[in-house]
Each structure stands twice: as structure tokens, then as C-alpha cells.
Symmetry: C2
Subunit: 474 residues, 2 copies
């Protein structure tokens, strides 16, 4: 592609994206394709001859676009709603062009040092102490995996060299989290060879927070049985309800029991940027590590997850490994980002976070986070005021868990589940909103997650009306 | 940022990138900043008020650009040279804007199904049989990690639930690779809890290929000692020399010993697209899994690694896990990409590979790969014809390992190393080229890796002259 062609196609794309971002509500949030429909509309094999960009883009619009779930839609309320903000998208474009592989300082001094600077900015904004060193990974799953790998390194002698198998000197290892912890913790302990049984899912209280007494008992029981507790994962903003585990009390136990404390603040950690929500991260200053995802609630295009760690030396001890072909004159004198993880190559991700933080400024970020929390509280008030609805969890951040429960109607839990599932499906079928669900103490809960910058009160109002209307229809 | 502002900044960026890609040779390949220089040129904290895009972009040009290592420079010959091709960059821009999280079919039917289609195209181009199912990860490190996790799942009973620690029924586990295997294999076995000692680095022959007799002996020895062999990693295109392990003979052993065979073809696998290099992947059809990185030698912007697996069910058995909040009406009836890995969220990476394959067409890809191999052979001929140079490895693909060895000069290995290190450093200091090194049987080898689409004979000629000239200067 010549330079002029690149400009021509690039300009078309810029205009298309600008229009798309402005009018993403033109599309149904959830696409209406059937499984296999896109696949069958595409050829079975790569073309023999190259094709013009126009033709590819036409196919994108004709075949792929109808199969896009619009995470940019202001009516996207499922899972955790996210925003690819304009400055973040532009930065990611630049990052793709620069094609940096920031494995060594030498292979991208700019990416290496900007990562350090930007993560210090974010750390300070969140009120974490300066002894937390940050590193960027792709996802919270990978951040947490590294945190638990560090915990394993710290607690199991010679695990790097000798592993876990066939050793008489290593008992079964235990990791603790609440029953509301994210599924990525399960995947981490599986991958690390600890086994899913190693994960103790501590019961939660009525507000879906880990019960500290139950944690203490579980640790004591495991020790008594000769097992080796190594880490606790406390969640700040759990996936189902955004509940916050009692981190200070958990930190006390970790300190007493010498356990690695990892805080999963992937979604809610950024709330600490807002002064009145600063206590979101209370106790987290005593953690060994903490994950926060700017690609969740900080307007940064996917993917960018940050692991803050106070014992980064342990991570390096676990993973640093310099083959001859990656040795440089600077080895030992600079930070080589490959030393803190399993992934050798790494994109220039800091660029988009840097541009997002500068574009909005601390003040702008606080404004948007506050507004999202205000919208969620507003929705919660509507639910609370409605005799045919029930709120199922507190609303500390921007997610509301609720269900339809018709007043004076004595139907069974199974019937309530069917009613809510059908109402949610009908609302989602409208194309105007997309909500997802969870289960809380066996009860089917619809979740409304606010997180897109374009979401306004009219959008949550519409979600409320659609659910109510659907209920009348079923 | 308003739509009009996005357009304005986007158009500026498109023009800047077009110009940058056309004139990347205007910059020194290796930046001339000192460690800490970029960091100290940036403020200590995020701005309180938002800033205009122009100011951020000005800072990018003023502070960051001088610290960029130009992977796009036609004189980039270090590690594996790569290309962020124009269609790939545009596709990645679109992908950032769409912000898809293809964890579930429902959260992006287009990303889910395009991944399947595109990976089938690539598989067929490479001549792999259709029973290889593909999945995209970020890096080869993560692809290989999943392959070895599958091998562990297949060989260690109940490893998902019970792990490896504290079990009397699981002996030490062994994985085999050659001494030239990439360092990511070490990191994988560490992470999986097998321990680095579990990795048997089988000696290579004089052409840097795994010695099959030594592999057979090592497996037999481990079995005799009561250890549990689970997998062999065969490399097609090793990092130092691009040597190719004898995959057919290794496959025989794996078949006889019932070991998981993983082929690391991250760099060289795509060579099989060229008919006269088709035998690059001889025997790979018998592998259990194979990794190939389109972000290495297939003109796709970083990151995009593909794992092909004939036993994807084993990967799903290891990792599939559906919490209530991720359950959809389609669960069980569609492919949910989260089921084959540890990362839940995933970018819409297939889009860029799709556009790259269509832009170049099979014919265009063959042309460019052939040209890169021709350039490497040409450089090798210059080395071979020069009485003061020595080639240190065969050149099956696009990498040449060589050193200066002045004719009739009897200096020691240590002196030769110093000479070559200095010559390489001097050449790199020119800003015109960037080469890296390795060690082969204790000898310091300079590597010339061809992989950028803009690289022409004049660039490799310049590298040759600079090394020669530097030698005269030291």
C-alpha cells in the first residue's frame, strides 16, 4: 500500500470511526445474527491475489458489522460496561503503527519509561503508596496469575527450579478468596499447578463480602491439616455485585499468617480517584499486590491491565531469565519489562493510558466516575421505589443488581427466575439495551452496569422501562 | 472529544503515520537516549485539568519519539525483524474503536467467527491438516504455555482439581526441548509448576538441530528413574539460528512414547506457505499443537500469535469454566473463546490478520517471503566470499549468523568476541542498522534477520559494509 493509499483509506476510516462513535446507538447493542451466519458468509480460503482495501472494508460493513456486539453503545449495561475513548483509540492507532516490542529497555526506551511514569501517575491518583511498582499486562487474568505466581515463589522453596510435583517436602498449597471472587482466580490456580481444590471459597456475608471469621478458620484448619496456605485474594468490586471485601481485616490476617495479599480491584480500584470514594481502597496499602484495569472503568481501549506490586523482586526472582540473544549492554542497569512476566513481547500499551489521563485530567476522570455512580444510584432509587421490583445488593459503585418481583404475587423462586430471564431477554431483544445477569444466594439477578461515557439518564430510564414493559408482556 | 475533533486529530495522525511509514529510515534505528532520560523529561503527576490533543502529540514527538526503537526501519535486523503493514495497522485502528471483548460468542459473534475463518485460511495456506483447530493469543509465550498446560492435563490425572503439590501419586514431570529452544519454554514450565529442572535441554547436532538419539535416551532415562515424561517441544526456526529440529523423527518418538508434541514454529512456520519451502513443516501434521506468530513474519502488527491444536478438547477440559454471570442462551451450542484459555477478555485480533491476508493475497505473501529469504541468502554469499568473515550456521530462512574472523589472524576466541561485539556496537551506533547477537557453541555470532517489507538489497549491503568498516576501525 503506497503512502497516498494509506492516507486515503486512513481518512475514510477516521471519518467512519468518528461517525460510529457518535452514532453507536444507531445499531442494535446485541447483534441479531445466528451462530454460524458470519462464518458461512465468508469464503473458505484466502484469496490468491491481493484485494483492494475498499473491498475489504465493504465486506467489513456488510458481513462483520451486523455481527458486532456494540460495547460502545450507550445502552450497553452487561458485564462491566467499558469505553474506548477517542484519545485512547487514537493512541492505540499510533501504537499499532510504531509496532514496539517493549521486552527490553533497548527495544523501546520510550515504552519502557512511559510505562513507569504513567503507572506512577495512576498509582498516585488512586492514593496507593509509592512502594507499589507497576507493570502492564493484557488482562486481569494475567495480572492475577502473576501475583499468585509470586505468592507461590515466596512460599514454596525452590519452586522455580524444582516445581511442585514429586516432592515430599511440599504439601498441598492453599489460596483463599470469597465465593464471589472472579473465575480468573480459579483459572490461575489451575494453571499454576495448585489445583482448583486448593482454592478455598470463603462464604460471604449478607452484603456479599468475604467473612473474615470464616477466612481465619479456613486458614487454621488448613494449617492443622498440614496444608500450606500461601495467599488471599480480596476483591474490591466483585463481578456480580461490586461488593468490597473487608481488606483491612483481611490484611490483619495476612500479616499475622504471613500470607500474600492480592487485591483484585480490576473494576472498582479507580473509584478511589474520587475523594468521597477514597476508602474504596482502604487497607490496600498493606497488600502485596493489586490489579486494576484501565480498560474497564478508565476509558482506555482494551487491553490494558495493571499489576501493582510491593515485592516486584519476587516476580523477577520467579521469571527473570536472560538468554544470550536478549543480553544487551544495559542488562542489569535498566528495567527490562520481560523480567516481570511470562510474555516476552509486549505492545506499547502505556501510550493510550498516558493519553487518556492527559486528555481527561484528574478532574475530568473524577467527574465521569461520579456521574456513572450517580446514574447507578438513580436507577437503584427507581428500583427501590417500585413495588414490583426488588434490589438485591448494595450499590457502592456503578452496578445495580435487581429483579422483578410483582407486588402481592407469591410465585416461587423458579417462576421468578423465569419471569426475570424472559424480561431480560425481551429487553435485550429490543436492540436498545444489553443487560446480563448473575445469581445471588440462588436468586436470579439482572445486572445494570454503567460504564460508557455516552450513557445518560435517558438510557438507564429506557432500560428500566424495557424491563418493566417486558414483565407486563410475559 | 467531539466527533469533529476526533476527525481533525485522526486526519493529522493518519498523515503523520503515512509519512512515518514511508520515511522510517529518517530516524536512527536504535534511539540515542540514555536510561532515565525520557522519564525525567515527563511530569511526575497526571495533570489536574484535561489537555488538548495537540499538546500530547507535540510531547509525543518531542519526548517519546527520540526514545522509540524503530522496528519499522528497513535497517532493523535484530532479533526477528517484523513488519506492521499498512492494512494491519488500519485494521488494528478499527479494532481499537470497536473495543470488542470476544470472551463469549455473544459478546462478539463477528470476532469469534472471523477468528475461525481466518485461522482456517492460514492453516490451509501452511498446509496443515484440517483437524488442527486454531485459537489466537497475544504471544508465542502464551500459546506455548497453553500447549504445555494441555500436555499436563492429558498426562497427569486430576491435575485440574488436585494440582501437583502434596500428591504421592505424581512423580516429577519432564518436558523435552533442544538446547536452542526459546526461553519462553523455560518460563512455561516454571509457571506450570513443573519446575525449570523438568526441562531437559537435549543437545543439538552441528546444524543446531535436536539430536533425536539423545532425546530417546533422555526419555528412557527419565522413565527408568520413575519420572513422568509428558511433552516434547520441537522448534521449526530456532531463535538463534532458525534451525529446524527433525520433526518427523521426533514425532516417531512422541508417538511411540505417547508424548504431547508441540511444534514451536512461531517465526518460521509461515515459510511453509512458499511451495519450495513447504517441507519446513514436514512432520508437523503429526503434532498435537503448533504455534505460529503472524506478528513475526506475516506483516501483522503485534500482537497476534496462533495456537493450532488437534486436541483442543484437552485445552477446554483444562480451562473451561462458566460462572453464572457468563452463562448465555448459547452456552454449549457455540464456541466461546474464553473456554480455551486463561485470558477472559480478548481483543478483536482476527480482523488485522484477515485484512493482511486479503491485502497481500497468497501470491503476495509468497512473493515477500521469497524475497526475504533471497536477501538472506545473498548476504550469506557475501559472507562466504569474504576471507575475513565466517558464516556460523546454515540459512534456511531469512536469518544469517556470522562473524568477523580476519584471514590469517590467529587471535583467541575471547579476542574474536571482543572484535565482533565492538564491530556490531559500532554498526548499531551508526543509526542505519540494528543487529543483535547470539552465541553458538561458545562463539559470539552476529545475527542479521530480514523481516521488514521495506528492506532492500541496499540495506543489507549497508549492514555488511558497516560491520566490515567497523572491524577496520577497531
Amino acid at each position: 500500500m503506497t503512502s497516498d493509499e494509506f492516507k486515503r483509506h486512513g481518512h475514510v476510516l477516521v471519518d467512519w470511526i468518528a461517525d460510529y462513535l457518535e452514532h453507536s446507538d444507531r445499531y442494535p447493542v446485541l447483534p441479531r445474527v445466528r451462530p454460524g451466519e458470519i462464518r458461512s458468509a465468508l469464503p473458505d480460503r484466502a484469496p490468491e491475489q491481493g484485494e483492494p482495501f475498499e473491498r475489504m472494508f465493504a465486506d467489513f460493513e456488510r458481513v462483520l458489522l451486523p455481527g458486532i456486539t456494540h460495547w460502545n453503545h450507550p445502552g450497553f449495561f452487561a458485564y462491566f460496561a467499558i469505553t474506548a475513548s477517542a484519545p485512547g483509540i487514537l493512541a492505540d492507532f499510533l501504537s499499532a503503527a510504531l509496532n514496539q516490542q517493549a521486552m527490553l529497555w533497548r527495544t523501546s526506551p520510550a515504552a519502557t519509561e512511559l510505562e513507569e511514569v504513567t503507572l506512577a501517575w495512576l498509582r498516585d491518583l488512586m492514593g496507593l503508596p509509592p512502594d507499589f511498582e507497576g507493570v502492564i499486562y493484557d488482562t486481569a487474568s494475567v495480572s492475577t496469575l502473576h501475583a499468585l505466581a509470586a505468592a507461590r515463589e515466596a512460599h514454596v522453596a525452590h519452586v522455580r527450579a524444582r516445581g511442585l510435583a514429586g516432592r515430599g517436602d511440599v504439601p498441598a498449597v492453599c489460596v483463599y478468596c470469597s465465593e464471589h471472587t472472579h473465575s480468573s482466580i480459579d483459572k490461575s490456580v489451575i494453571l499454576l499447578g495448585l489445583g482448583q481444590d486448593a482454592l478455598r471459597k470463603i462464604p460471604a456475608d449478607e452484603k456479599f463480602r468475604m467473612r473474615v471469621d470464616a477466612l481465619a478458620h479456613a486458614v487454621a484448619d488448613d494449617r492443622a491439616a498440614g496444608r500450606l496456605p500461601i495467599a488471599v485474594v480480596a476483591t474490591v468490586g466483585s463481578t456480580s455485585t461490586t461488593s468490597v471485601d473487608p481488606v483491612p481485616a483481611i490484611a490483619d490476617i495476612c500479616s499475622r499468617e504471613r500470607l500474600w495479599l492480592h487485591v483484585d480491584a480490576a473494576y472498582a480500584g479507580v473509584a478511589a480517584i474520587v475523594p468521597e470514594s477514597r476508602d474504596t481502597l482502604a487497607g490496600a496499602d498493606r497488600a502485596d499486590s493489586l490489579v486494576v484495569n484501565p480498560h474497564k472503568w478508565l476509558f482506555t481501549p482494551f487491553d490494558l491491565s495493571v499489576l501493582y506490586c510491593r515485592r516486584m523482586d519476587v516476580l523477577r526472582q520467579a521469571f527473570a531469565l536472560v538468554p544470550e540473544y536478549l543480553r544487551t549492554a544495559e542488562t542489569g542497569n535498566v528495567r527490562n519489562l520481560m523480567d516481570t512476566g511470562i510474555q516476552l513481547g509486549r505492545r506499547f500499551r502505556a501510550l493510550k493510558l498516558w493519553m487518556v489521563l492527559r486528555h481527561f485530567g484528574a478532574d475530568g476522570i473524577r467527574h465521569h466516575l461520579r456521574e456513572h455512580m450517580r446514574l447507578a444510584r438513580t436507577f437503584a432509587e427507581w428500583v427501590d421505589a417500585d413495588p414490583d421490583m426488588e434490589r438485591l445488593a448494595p450499590v457502592p459503585f456503578s452496578v445495580v443488581c435487581f429483579r422483578l418481583k410483582p407486588h402481592g404475587d407469591d410465585r416461587s423462586e423458579a417462576d421468578l427466575e423465569a419471569l426475570n430471564q424472559q424480561a431480560m431477554d425481551a429487553a435485550n431483544a429490543s436492540g436498545e439495551v444489553f443487560l446480563s445477569h448473575t445469581k445471588l444466594s440462588g436468586r436470579f439477578a439482572i445486572r445494570l452496569a454503567v460504564g460508557h461515557l455516552a450513557t445518560r439518564e435517558q438510557h438507564i430510564r429506557r432500560a428500566f422501562e424495557l424491563i418493566k414493559g417486558a414483565a407486563r408482556g410475559v
